[in-house]
Amino acid sequence: MTTRDVSFTLNGRPATLTVEPRQTLADAVRQHLGLTGTHLGCEHGVCGACTVLLDGDAIRGCLMLAVQAESLSITTIEGASPPEGLGVIQDAMQRHHALQCGFCSPGMVLALEALFAHTPCPGEDEIREAISGNLCRCTGYQPIVAAALSVAEKNRANLGAAAPSA
């Protein structure tokens, strides 16, 4: 069986794995590194549960091969979470009851992380577009959108407050 060594930045730290070329990035981070926050739902690019960040962009972890990550920078939900407590988006999702079973949550959080990174104050349409590729079977999406809107609102207030002194 052919294997390859692949070196990349994972959650800000260098990582080197020995993988089979057929192994997807999502499988590799789960099986070789024990980072099981990246969930696998459909395994063919439909559900978005396996979303990870590639150089800051949300991508499907099940549609990229681990060997393709060579020298790139990958962030999983473990890397997007603070060492203790919850991140801003995670906290908003908890307060708005934006999860029930939690299976889609890592993907939802990372899809929103990618959105907020370049659009700090998105409107509802932009939020819905950003999570349009992520399926949730529990919430009906409304609380997730509400959580994201609350983050946008907070960002707007912070940016607005900073504006006069700038």
Binding site: M1, H44, G45, R60, L65, E70, A111, G133
Partner: protein, 286 residues
């Protein structure tokens, strides 16, 4: 749901990629992987060697030169969608891309990959046909150029031969306003019916018209007769009615769990009317 084993190479030049593809019986190039990786997972594709085109810098980029827009085949869909150059040169391509997948699939998915994959319900092939694009193909013997309308043959079938790579798409400056409309089960899904319309009106006369249907049969269908009527009679409400009566509804063969052929035939005229009206009233810049 796990791919069968394969070997993997990631060349950095087109020449090396062509050599690898030509040297193996069932080697396959991989672009953004948004269609091929699911096919690997389902084992619908079982190549012995995957030749990754993602490490070839000369395959990606957007460049306007002498009125022609050249988009490298490996340019990400997200990069094209965000490009002001494309927005001014070929707004129909932007309009089509807004219907392609979701932000995470567009971040990896490429313009050339979608065209080479040639899904009959995909948006980009129809847009390429409606924009009179030229597909630039590289082989070890040199390059050849094929008009988009001749490039697509059938479902998942193009003129690309084993050992060839689609390297770029060349678009003339778009004449006229445009619209891309579709009916799909969910936003981002492939279309049940898609319509790409590009209509140029000058001094009350219709100087150019392109009307291309997707999702209805094995490949995109150019509505030549309807286009001819619009060019002859102008894009007036009366002429549009005549043109809609001349749509190639008999070419609809797609009949699926999602939508019957009869339903698609009913959708087409209304979707075409809306697309033609939107194209004639749209400014060229979005």
């Amino acid at each position: 749901m796990k791919p069968a084993p394969f070997d993997y190479e990631a060349p950095t030049t087109i020449a090396d990629a062509l050599k690898l593809l030509g040297g193996h019986e069932d080697a396959r190039p991989i672009a953004g992987g948004q269609s091929l990786v699911p096919m690997l997972a389902f084992r619908l594709a079982r190549p012995s060697l995957l030749v990754d085109l993602n490490r070839i810098p000369s395959l990606a980029g957007i460049e306007e030169k002498g009125g022609v827009l050249r988009i490298g085949a490996m340019t990400r869909q997200a990069a094209v969608l965000a490009s002001d150059t494309v927005k001014h040169h070929a707004p129909l391509l932007i309009q089509a891309l807004e219907n392609v997948g979701h932000p995470p699939t567009r971040a990896r998915g490429t313009i050339g990959g979608s065209c080479a994959h040639a899904d009959p319900a995909a948006e980009l092939p129809s847009a390429m046909v409606a924009l009179d694009a030229t597909m630039v193909i590289a082989a070890s013997g040199g390059e050849r150029r094929v008009p988009a309308d001749d490039f697509f043959i059938g479902a998942f079938e193009t003129v690309l031969q084993t050992g060839e790579i689609l390297v770029a798409l060349e678009l003339p400056k778009q004449t006229g306003g445009s619209a891309f409309l579709e009916v799909s089960a969910r936003k981002g899904d492939f279309g049940i019916v898609t319509v790409a319309a590009r209509i140029a009106v000058k001094d009350g006369r219709c100087t150019d018209a392109a009307l291309v249907l997707g999702g209805i049969t094995e490949r995109s269908v150019r509505c030549a007769q309807a286009e001819h009527i619009l060019k002859e009679q102008g894009a007036t409400p009366k002429a549009i009615d005549v043109a809609l009566a001349a749509l190639p509804l008999d070419t609809v063969t797609m009949d699926s769990r999602l939508a019957s052929a009869a339903y698609r035939r009913r959708l087409i005229p209304e979707l075409c009317r809306r697309a033609i009206e939107a194209a004639t009233t749209s400014k060229v810049a979005l």
